[in-house]
Amino acid sequence: MPVNLPSVTVEINISHVARLARLELSDEELGTYGRQCRELLEHVARIQAVDTEGVEPTSHPFPMTNRFREDRVTPETVLGREEVLARAPDTEGPFFRVPPAIEEA
């Protein structure tokens, strides 16, 4: 465990991150979230000072490997198309409808 915690400066391009996260935020919101994220990251970045040489990461609390099931339809867990489409904001026939995915030139 580290004795002296280094202070870490974190560079975060918040408008780029917001774009990656698909969040349309105002400039004011970007400023607030950017500052808060920077402060939180500077706090949690102290974790980088921990010596983890040769330590394996834990991705799952149990040493379980991939579990496979038979690839067959189980009617009791399959939702009907009508039931699913009924909850969608916009549909057309058997499809979900969205605005154009590609901007017009």
Partner: protein, 494 residues
């Protein structure tokens, strides 16, 4: 006197001293008295509850007994899907969403004869420690309405504490069952990761989330947990082996139990003096009852909070990508698919969720993944190794559940870090995947409840509940004070 325990109500149902309809009426009557002040429920299913209660009575009369939860009204946190009952996760983005299926835990409750009274309030997508992050307004603490109930399962904890259900389900990612149970003076247990199926639990951080019970008594928590746990083919992380029943050793006592005392768990510094005094008093009583205690240190858990606030936001940013305005939930129109998605998400998510999605997206982005998420997962291994070392000398580990009792509404909302520190004692068990339970042991000088945390190795729920039942009996704490109309629901200094 109302029925306050599941076990007691179950006995009375079979002795013919009460009906399920009467239990449902008791819960509804209590709810009508206190809900306006507490706001514990997001959906109260009065009709569904009364119909299910009538069926439960008919079944019992026809000798179709579904077990200890038969005819018992239970409150379910609103991040578990309920067929034909609105499920919002406390978020505007899911407002009005009615799922077409039951979460496995909910289905198992129904199969066990339990009645779903309604859906309880929570911090949006379970992200928070005070239930103030709900898009539908905060829940208040039944012991003092100026105080938070804790979170994120604050609605279930407040509902159970105030008698608006006989038991509740919560979910715990970093302490979201145990901390509100502690602050509301009830019992709350997070099982071993994988013990309860996460199918139908709206995912926050998938490697940490677990569903568990909130009740007045340890015995009741064991009954609820045993009804919902066990392998589920619909959750690939569900534990496939047999697990000893949580309630198998409730009366085994403390004789010969080795208790490790972790005072600085998670790097905790300032524990309130009343919390520490109650904790020490309970330790002394445990020793007198035959337990041996040993001070232990888990130094790696000092990094627990940092590891958690990298892992949880990273996983949440991936999990919450599904809320995009296409298949369900809120849609805000835009000229392109991307604009529609970006507007729907910005409008639909509250500030805390937005902050964590941004933090997690950054922590996983190119160039930072290894330094942040990768390093946090390695620290998680170090924490598990610390626990493993401690469990070579101890059967269970104990700590306060929370360094403080219930804090005033608004106290920590302006400073995210001060809110995050609420969970230092509870986060390590999530990172290790181990079970942990909070048991109420007393009140502080402001008449606010204090919780005692018992932690155990993976799959050792039976030992954990054994110790928790002993602690409960030694503390002799009356959890039902908020039931008393004379005590009243109010704020201010008592």
């Amino acid at each position: 006197m109302p029925f306050t325990t599941i076990a007691g109500a179950a006995r009375a149902l079979r002795d013919g001293r009460v009906t399920s309809v009467a239990l449902a009426e008791q819960v509804l009557e209590r709810t009508s008295m206190v809900e306006a002040q507490l706001h514990a429920y997001l959906t109260l299913d009065t009709d569904g509850l009364m119909e299910a209660a009538a069926r439960a009575d008919e079944d019992l009369a026809a000798r179709k007994d579904h077990g200890p939860l038969h005819g018992i009204p239970i409150a379910v946190k609103d991040n578990m899907t309920t067929r034909h009952m609105e499920t919002t996760a406390g978020s505007r983005i899911l407002s009005g969403y009615v799922p077409p299926y039951d979460a496995t835990a909910v289905r198992r409750l129904r199969d066990a004869g339990a009645l779903i009274a309604g859906k309880t309030n929570l911090d949006e997508f379970a992200m928070g420690s005070s239930t103030e992050n709900s898009a539908f307004g905060p829940t208040r603490n039944p012991w003092n309405t100026d105080r938070v109930p804790g979170g994120s399962s604050g609605g279930s904890a407040a509902a159970v504490a105030a008698g608006m259900a006989l038991g509740g389900l919560g979910s715990d990612t970093g302490g979201s069952i145990r901390q509100p149970a502690s602050l509301c003076g009830v019992v709350g247990a997070k099982p071993t990761y994988g013990a309860v199926s996460r199918y139908g639990l709206i995912a926050f951080a998938s490697s940490l989330d677990q569903i568990g019970p909130i009740t007045h008594r340890v015995e009741d928590a064991a009954l609820l947990l045993d009804a919902i746990s066990g392998h589920d083919p619909l959750d690939s992380t569900s534990y496939p082996g047999a697990i000893e029943a949580a309630g198998a050793r409730l009366d085994w006592g403390l004789d010969g139990i080795r208790v490790g005392v972790v005072r600085r768990l998670g790097g905790a510094e300032a524990v309130e003096p009343d919390v520490e005094a109650a904790f020490d008093c309970t330790l002394a009583a445990m020793e007198a009852a035959g337990a041996t205690t040993l001070e232990v240190d888990l130094p790696s858990t000092e990094q627990g909070l940092s590891a958690y606030y990298l892992i949880a936001p990273a996983e949440c940013s991936a999990n919450l990508a599904r809320f995009d305005g296409v298949r369900y939930g809120l849609r805000v129109d835009g000229a392109t698919t991307e604009q529609m998605m970006s507007r729907s998400r910005a409008d639909g998510f509250g500030a805390e969720v937005t902050r964590r999605v941004l933090l997690g997206t950054f922590a996983l982005s190119a160039g930072y993944h290894e330094a942040f998420y990768g390093q946090a997962q390695k620290v998680r291994t170090l924490i598990r190794e610390d626990f493993a070392r401690a469990y070579r000398q101890c059967d269970v580990l104990v700590s306060p559940t929370s360094a403080t009792t219930a804090f005033p509404l608004g106290d920590r909302t302006d400073d995210p870090l001060s809110m995050y520190v609420s969970d230092v004692f509870t986060i390590p068990s999530n990172l290790a995947g181990h079970p942990a339970i909070s048991v109420p042991i007393g009140l502080d000088r402001h008449d606010l409840p204090i919780g005692f945390q018992v932690m155990a190795p993976a799959l050792a729920e039976a030992v954990m509940f054994q110790v928790a039942a002993a602690v409960e009996s030694l503390a002799g704490f009356d959890t039902t004070v908020p039931f008393d109309p004379a005590y009243g629901l109010r704020g201010g200094v008592r």
